[in-house]
């Protein structure tokens, strides 16, 4: 049940006609100007809050070329992990082996955990980087990247038999630290200008 905005009488939910059955006013357009004004006020309030949030993410992720390069850099481990990581084992051969049931998951547990954790922790690094311009953003980025790198190195050493993909992935993870520092300067500069 709803009420006619003009005469206030009740109208059934499934009454579909445009005009009020009681006063014949057009129910869709009655008081349209006022409703548009009220919609605009409400929309402005909502946009104020969101713009603040989006502004933070924009400033943190795409406000300068160096930030965009960092964003791209985060995804490179996905490519390097497709190269041999541990002996002949790569991300692709792992997925293929698991699906085909040819990989001994128990025997290659450390290698598997290492690859899965890099993906999960890299995602965490990416998400953290979207808030680089926020309070403690830089410290948070460094901590997340440090955890990712330390875990990767520890598991790599424990598993042994590291191959080209592992070293390249490690190199990318280390380069991420450098980029966090460069990006911090870029963000600080932008914030000072604004």
């Amino acid at each position: 049940m709803s009420k006619c905005p003009k005469c206030g009488k009740e109208i059934g939910l499934f009454y579909m006609k445009e005009n009020c059955p009681h006063c014949n006013v057009n129910l869709l357009y009655y008081n349209l100007e006022e409703r548009l004004k009220s919609d605009e006020e409400q929309a402005n309030k909502e946009y104020d809050a969101v713009e603040k949030f989006i502004g933070l993410i924009k400033l943190s992720s795409i406000s300068s070329p160096v930030l965009i390069i960092r964003l791209v850099l985060f995804f490179i481990p996905l490519g390097t992990m497709c190269l041999p990581m541990y002996g002949d084992l790569s991300l692709i051969t792992t997925i293929k082996g698991l699906i085909a049931g040819e990989l001994d998951a128990g025997g290659a547990m450390l290698e598997l955990v290492s690859m899965v954790l890099v993906i999960i922790l890299s995602l965490a690094v990416i998400i953290a980087s979207l808030f680089s311009a926020g309070k403690n953003g830089f410290v948070r980025n460094m901590i997340f990247s440090a955890v990712n790198t330390v875990v990767f190195i520890s598991l790599g050493i424990a598993a042994g038999n590291m191959a080209v993909g592992w070293y390249l992935t490690l190199a990318v993870l280390i380069v991420e630290f450098v980029f966090h520092i460069i990006c911090k300067k870029s963000i600080d500069k932008k914030q000072n200008v604004d």
Partner: protein, 482 residues
């Protein structure tokens, strides 16, 4: 600080519109598996599937504009589009389950004819209901507000959220298919499709219905009872819309890439799940791209963006094809290559999802400016029809091309054997990477004649703003009928 654009549509309403689209495309995305589903799971002969997709594609040429015309004639107290968005989700959910559950419902039926009949009936009903939901949904992107900024935001929200959530269905499907075929999960392929279809139904009911419940129509429809015929006449006079339609029809070959993608992962590298890994960077970058659209629009007009999109895709696809020409089945080469391609394409995919819809909105304004009548129904039915036509024709073309390039299947169920010719893998690689994008360049030709840009578009928008303000004032006291 730059002055913020005006908005009538708030963030919550945009979010509802976006979530609604996600609920809608969650099931629609499965369409890229039509060909595979009907041939491999329902075990219907390739020729029959190809024929059905083609015939119903032709039916769409009548059905879609007809539905659009009916929608344009609708006048209710909820608006002209919202009633459909309120009442379609339930029957559409039921039809979706029926469509994808054929192999399960008919598992004891041996007759191929019976299966073909089921395929025709279920697809026909599903398609008709989908149109009745889809046309008003996109029509609402134009009627949700008279302001272009609101429309861009609504379309972006819809595309962005649907990209994020809508893709989950195909991701789940691929994983479950791999799991089922390799006996990792103890369910058959028909059961996989049934489970996924139930999820699609839940998404339709839970999310798609939000468009009708939470969104409003804010553009005054000045004509009280337009005739269907008048709607079509207006459409023919709408030259910019015709150019978009011709461009979209010509882009059918471009859609072949999507159809062949499925076969590439399934038959060349034999790893359906690889598609997910390849899509990850692009999906995330594509999400960020939505933030760049307003910046891009400051530098280029919509037509220039269309050109930029088509040409860049063609160039990148040629490079990818040439690099992978001798390594198309070597995943060590192909994975990084496709990751990079996907990353670049994701930028243009995002733009491609917003700009053409916005351009249709401009053509509706143009006709209102010219004739005084708005035709969201007919105009967007053309867009959705062309979208389905390109999807159907490309799926049909793909199914027809497969035997020509030497890919056939023999036997059924676990005994099914894939037969390939000497160059089949290379040809699948070519149809997946380069052929569709290079041939797709012809779709740019009509845009040379699209003129809703620059000063002309500005004049239309300025004139319409004045007219709408007058209209709102005129109807606020009780509407045109008072």
């Amino acid at each position: 600080m730059a002055q913020r654009e005006r908005h009538y549509v708030g963030v919550k309403e945009n979010l509802a519109y976006g979530l609604a689209n996600a609920g809608q495309v969650f099931g629609y995305n499965l369409n890229s598996y039509f060909s595979l589903f009907f041939t491999k799971v329902f075990l219907i002969p390739q020729k029959a599937v190809s024929k059905m997709i083609f015939i119903l594609g032709i039916w769409d040429t009548i059905n879609d504009p007809l539905m659009g015309g009916i929608i344009d004639r609708t006048r209710t107290r909820y608006g002209k589009l919202r009633p459909y968005l309120l009442f379609i989700p339930l029957p559409l959910a039921i039809a979706t389950v029926a469509l994808w559950s054929g192999p399960l419902f008919m598992q004891d039926v041996e007759s191929t004819t019976a299966k073909i009949v089921y395929m025709y009936v279920s697809y026909f009903i599903w398609e008709m209901l989908y149109t009745l939901g889809d046309v008003p949904f996109w029509g609402l992107s134009s009627a949700i507000s008279p302001l272009p900024s609101d429309r861009t935001a609504a379309i972006s929200s819809a595309r962005m959220i649907s990209t994020l959530i809508g893709g989950i269905s195909t991701t789940l499907l691929v994983l479950m298919m791999d799991g089922s075929e390799n006996h990792i999960i103890p369910i058959s392929l028909p059961q996989v499709f049934f489970i996924i279809s139930l999820m699609c139904a839940a998404m339709l009911l839970g999310l798609f219905s939000l468009a009708g419940i939470k969104c409003k129509e804010r553009v005054v429809q000045t004509v009280k009872d337009p005739s269907i015929l008048a709607g079509f006449k207006v459409l023919v006079k709408n030259k910019p819309l015709l150019m978009i339609v011709i461009g979209n029809v010509l882009s059918t070959v471009g859609a072949l890439a999507g159809a062949f993608e499925t076969y590439y992962y399934a038959e060349v590298v034999s790893l359906n799940s690889l598609k997910i890994v390849i899509a990850i960077p692009g999906a995330i970058f594509g999400f960020v791209t939505y933030l760049l659209i307003p910046k891009l629009k400051k530098k280029f007009d919509n037509r220039q963006i269309v050109f930029l999109n088509g040409i860049t895709r063609a160039v990148v696809s040629v490079i990818v094809f040439l690099i992978g020409m001798n390594h198309y089945n070597d995943i060590k080469v192909v994975v990084p290559l496709l990751l990079i391609q996907n990353f670049i394409f994701s930028f243009f995919n995002t733009i491609n999802m917003v700009i053409p819809t916005e351009m249709i909105g401009d053509t509706i304004d143009y006709m209102e400016w010219k004739t005084g009548e708005r035709n969201e129904g007919v105009s967007f039915s053309v867009l959705t029809f062309v979208g389905k036509l390109t999807g159907s024709v490309s799926a049909s073309l793909c199914t027809a091309i497969l035997p020509i390039i030497g890919l056939t299947y023999q036997g059924s169920g676990v005994d099914r054997v894939t037969i390939k010719g000497d160059n089949t893998d290379l040809l699948i690689w070519a149809f997946f990477t380069v052929v569709p994008y290079v041939l797709g360049l012809v779709s740019l030709i009509p845009y040379f004649f699209y003129d809703l840009t620059g000063k002309k578009l500005k004049k239309i928008r300025d004139d319409m703003e004045v007219r709408r303000a007058e209209n709102s004032k005129a109807v606020s006291g009780g509407g045109l009928d008072e």
